[in-house]
Structures are given as structure tokens and as C-alpha cells.
């Protein structure tokens, strides 16, 4: 199973992971259009936290006990049998925020503009997730971990 982890000492808190995540999850894949024009506004599934001099980039950590899957009211959050990843079905999501309540990382974004949640999907259309590929200091690593 894939998971993105962070080398904390290398994170400079630049926030580019958020930008690339937002753009990758936009319709246009164009930064200007994504940030200025698209409705509903695409949201980043990554959050950069700063507590000077430290900073880290937070996203879904693919927890083994999957509290979000157990808590989901509509059946939108499931474990993909093939990849072992926690996946979110936007069509089934009702934006009840129950997964937000139980996510220990605060890594599920309650997107009030689309009225459903957004969470890291490890960029299924890319070989390497956008945040990892574009981290200027190689602070983010996407690797296979045991399920």
C-alpha cells in the first residue's frame, strides 16, 4: 500500500505541496484558473502546519484501523480491495463530517463549497503524487508500506 510520509527536517514550509495538490485536483489543471475562476473552488487535500522553526505537510496517512471508514454514514469511504487504500466516493458522500470528527490527523477537509469532504487520493492519474513530485526540498516521500 502506498503512503506519503514527510522528512520533517527537510520541510521548509513553502506551501507548494498545497498549491500542486489544489491544481492537480482542479478541472483545468491550470494554477491561475484553478485559484481564480473555478467553481466550486478546488481545495488542497494537504495542509502545511508551521510552528517555527518547524513545519510539516499533513495529508491522509492511510491509518490501519481506518476510523473514517468505520464512521462513514453513507458508505462513501471504503477500503479499496486491490490497493488497500482508503478511498472516497464523492458521489456517495453527503458531507456529514463524521469522518472529519474521527480523523486523528485532521487530514480530511470539510469542503463547504462543494459540501462534501476532500481527502488525499495519492493522485491516481500520476505516477508520483503531485505534492511529492514537486516538493522543492524532497521532504515528501511516497513509498510502499505494509498493509
Amino acid at each position: 500500500m502506498k503512503r506519503v510520509s514527510i522528512k520533517e527536517e527537510a520541510c521548509i514550509g513553502c506551501g507548494l505541496c498545497q498549491v500542486y495538490c489544489t491544481v492537480e485536483h482542479s478541472k483545468s489543471k491550470d494554477p491561475i484558473k484553478a485559484y481564480r475562476r473555478e467553481q466550486p473552488r478546488p481545495v488542497s487535500r494537504v495542509r502545511v502546519e508551521t510552528n517555527k522553526p518547524h513545519s510539516i505537510s499533513i495529508r491522509c496517512q492511510q491509518c490501519k484501523d481506518t476510523p473514517c471508514v468505520t464512521a462513514c454514514l453513507s458508505g462513501a469511504m471504503t477500503i479499496d480491495k486491490e490497493t488497500g487504500l482508503v478511498v472516497h466516493d464523492a458521489e456517495k458522500c453527503i458531507g456529514c463530517w463524521t469522518c472529519v470528527m474521527v480523523c486523528p490527523y485532521g487530514a480530511i477537509k470539510p469542503d463547504t463549497s462543494s459540501k462534501i469532504i476532500a481527502k488525499c487520493d495519492l493522485c491516481p492519474n500520476l505516477e508520483v503524487p503531485a505534492c511529492v513530485a514537486n516538493c522543492p526540498n524532497e521532504a515528501l516521500v511516497c513509498e510502499e508500506v505494509e498493509q
Partner: protein, 424 residues
């Protein structure tokens, strides 16, 4: 003979089926459900009535769920008796099924108080699809409704009806709506949001009597409140709460308090008999004791734990507590634990208000442990608090930052992060 028998096919029963099949793909498995399509999401009844969801989209699991899990689903069937000595469940009509392991996941029944006129056409409850369908089918001809009960289900019902163009009066006996979940301040904000959406909220009162229509005494025409006021309406929704459906174990040796008492493995006091969900009184991690907590995620979690143990894989129920996330009229709120204690003086209270943004946050601490919190308006990091509360983490060191803008994983002490918030 079925190795596993589950009574109830909702959140708990489904969780148990999935867990059993993870461990034992072949053991015979029978699920008995009164409902014909049990695998729908009960919390989505509100979305169904408001027409934001259809019968299709509200399915919690697909139509093939039972088949795929090699489970025999006896839908539309009612279990009427359990013989714990013979290890046998009897269904209406006389069918008897022997079991090796039994799960009682019969859920709750909406509580309907005795009320003059309560039998009239147009009085509904809001926790079962069949009732919701009946309600939904009447909406085209109706203009107004009175919802009795200002808890989670009542407010959900009010929202759904307003979205369908019905004029709604929401009646709550206590001083504030959602009083089991929110404190006064948060309730007031929620009441304001409801009012702005067109709901008339009446607190400190209840319905005394349901009246008939002038031309049809058998159909709902209005209600009389405790103070004597008359409110005309075409519908009454009773949403006061649910009571555990323990009737199957009445006058048996199964230990029942308010619900069926289960241990951390979801076992009842009878060998090979388990219970979960709204019918069970299970562990509360805040209380460190058993209590009724009729919440969908907990029913599902309890069902999973029961299923594992029934199939022979030891699993412990982590427990739940009072925990709700709300989205009424797009106001996001997450409230967990003890948010409004009676003797609030013995708690340390942290509060943040940003009225201009409709943000209100409150954390209650006792001996430096988080025992409850409300996040209203800005809920993204509520889950971090939830883990701190659930794991009884001493927060003395980080108290000052819990409500700050910068609060996050990064502000937690290194040792704590390595223990329960690993990101590297």
C-alpha cells in the same frame, strides 16, 4: 443450522457480516431483517425526504452485499423468540434456525409518547425508511408540519421538510434544541440558523394533543401545546428518541439494563450471544462504563467487533461516547463528550469566538484531560482533539495552543507525536 445468525441488517449487522467474512469466508451466515432492503443508510432518511438522495443513492452497501458476502438474508422476516438452551431463533411463521453464534442487532424503536390524537393519519416517526416513505408521499398535499423533539433526528426532520417547502415548527421540551450535544451558546447559534432558514423554534414546551381536521377528524389538522396554544398543521413528526428493542430477550437470562449489557468484546452474559448497536449498552471511553449510545458509527464499529469475536478473532471494542457531527443548513458543528456539564465550575473551559465568521470553539478540561469540545464553523482539526480526548492524553503542556490558529500535529509534543500521530 447456521453457524452465525444475526438479527438485524442495519449498521451493526452489516459490520458483523463484513468482519465475519474477513476471518471465516465459508461458515454459514444468516441475517434476519424486518426491513425488506435493510442495507440503507438510516442517517440519510433526511436526505431522502428532502429529495437530496434517492432510494438508490442512500444505499449504505450495494444490492449484491448479502450475496457477495455469502450471507443468507431473510428480509421482511421477524425473529419472535430465542431459545438460548437449544441455541435456536424462531421466526414469525414458525421457522426455526439453530445457531452456533448469535448477534442481536435489533436496533431501537422510535419513542412515541402517549398523546391524545397520536393515532391520527399524518403522525410519523423519522428513523425507519417505511415511515419516511409514508411521510414523503404526503408532502405534495401538505403545507405545514410540527416536529416534536429538538434533538438530532428532530432537527434533521425539520431541515428536510423545510427543504421541501413545508412550513415547520420545531418543538423542544427543554430550554434549548440539541441540548444533549451542545452548550447554550452553540444551541443559540444553531437555533438562529434554523430560524433564518424558516423554522419556527419553540422551546420549553411540548405537544399536548393532536387535533383532527375540520372536515376529517382522523387526519392531522393541528396540535395543542402545553400552554394551550393551537398550531395548525397537516403533519406531526415525533422525534423524541429511540428505545432499545430488547423485546426478544425479555424474561430471559440475558442481562438487560436500559439496553442489553455487553462487555468490551460485545458479548452478553450468555455464552455465544453478542449484541451491538442501539439495542446494546456498550463501553463509553469517557465514562469508562457502559451506556446507551444510539449512533450509527458506533453501531457499525460494535458490529465489526462482534463479528470478529464470533468468528474467533479476538477484537476489543474501543468504545464510543456522545459524539456528533452536524451540518444543519450548512452550519458545520462537531461536538464530542461532555460539552455542557452541570457543575461547570469544576472544569477548566477554553473558549474562542469569532462571531463575524460564525466560529465558536469550546474545550472542557478536567485535570488537564480533554473531556469535551465543541467546534462550530471551523471543524477541520476536530479529529486531532477527538484522539486526544479518546486516548486520555494529558494536555497540560499544550493547553495554550489548542484553540490557536496554528494548532495542529506540528504543535504536539514530539513524544506524543511519535506515539499516536506519526507522519514520518
Amino acid at each position: 443450522m447456521s453457524k452465525y445468525v444475526i438479527i438485524g441488517g442495519s449498521a451493526g449487522g452489516i459490520g458483523a457480516v463484513e468482519a465475519i467474512r474477513e476471518v471465516d469466508p465459508v461458515g454459514t451466515l444468516t441475517v434476519i431483517s424486518e426491513e425488506t432492503v435493510p442495507q440503507y443508510s438510516r442517517p440519510m432518511i433526511s436526505e431522502y425526504v428532502s429529495r437530496e438522495a434517492t432510494l438508490e443513492t442512500m444505499k449504505y452497501r450495494g444490492d449484491q452485499f448479502w450475496n457477495k458476502n455469502n450471507a443468507q438474508a431473510l428480509t421482511g422476516r421477524t425473529a419472535i423468540k430465542i431459545d438460548f438452551t437449544k441455541k435456536q431463533v424462531e421466526l414469525e411463521g414458525g421457522t426455526k434456525i439453530d445457531y452456533e453464534k448469535l448477534l442481536i442487532a435489533t436496533g431501537g424503536r422510535p419513542f412515541v409518547p402517549r398523546m391524545e390524537g397520536g393515532e391520527k393519519d399524518g403522525v410519523f416517526t423519522f428513523t425507519e425508511l417505511s415511515s419516511a416513505k409514508g411521510l414523503e408521499s404526503k408532502l405534495e398535499q401538505c403545507k405545514s408540519a410540527v416536529v416534536i423533539g429538538g434533538g438530532l433526528i428532530g432537527v434533521s426532520a425539520a431541515e428536510a421538510l423545510v427543504k421541501r417547502g413545508i412550513t415547520v415548527t420545531l418543538v423542544e421540551l427543554k430550554e434549548h434544541i440539541l441540548n444533549l450535544i451542545l452548550d447554550e451558546k452553540a444551541s443559540e447559534i444553531a437555533e438562529k440558523v434554523l430560524s433564518e432558514a424558516g423554522v419556527t423554534v419553540i422551546t420549553g414546551q411540548t405537544v399536548q394533543r393532536v387535533l383532527g381536521k375540520q372536515d376529517n377528524e382522523d387526519a392531522v389538522g393541528g396540535v395543542i401545546m402545553t400552554d394551550g396554544t393551537e398550531i395548525p398543521c397537516d403533519l406531526v413528526v415525533v422525534a423524541i428518541g429511540v428505545i432499545p428493542r430488547t423485546e426478544l430477550v425479555k424474561e430471559t437470562d440475558v442481562k438487560v439494563n436500559r439496553g442489553i449489557v455487553v462487555d468490551r468484546f460485545m458479548r452478553t452474559n450468555i455464552l455465544d450471544v453478542y449484541a451491538c448497536g442501539d439495542v446494546a449498552e456498550a463501553h463509553d471511553f469517557l465514562l469508562n462504563g457502559n451506556r446507551l449510545l444510539p449512533l450509527w458509527p458506533l453501531a457499525h464499529m460494535g458490529g465489526r467487533v462482534a463479528g470478529y469475536n464470533m468468528a474467533g478473532k479476538k477484537a476489543e471494542y474501543a468504545g464510543g461516547t456522545v459524539m456528533s457531527s452536524l451540518k444543519y443548513f450548512d452550519l458545520p458543528v462537531i461536538a464530542v463528550g461532555n460539552t455542557n456539564p452541570e457543575n461547570s465550575g469544576s472544569y477548566e473551559v477554553l473558549v474562542e469566538r469569532q462571531p463575524e465568521k460564525i466560529v465558536y470553539k469550546k474545550i472542557l478540561l478536567k485535570d488537564d484531560l480533554i473531556v469535551g469540545f465543541i467546534f462550530l464553523g471551523d471543524i477541520e482539526k476536530a479529529g486531532i482533539l477527538f484522539r486526544l480526548l479518546k486516548n486520555h492524553v494529558n494536555v497540560a503542556e499544550i493547553k495554550e495552543v489548542l484553540l490557536s490558529e496554528d494548532f495542529g500535529i506540528v504543535t504536539l509534543p514530539e513524544q506524543l507525536r511519535q506515539k499516536m500521530f506519526v507522519v514520518n
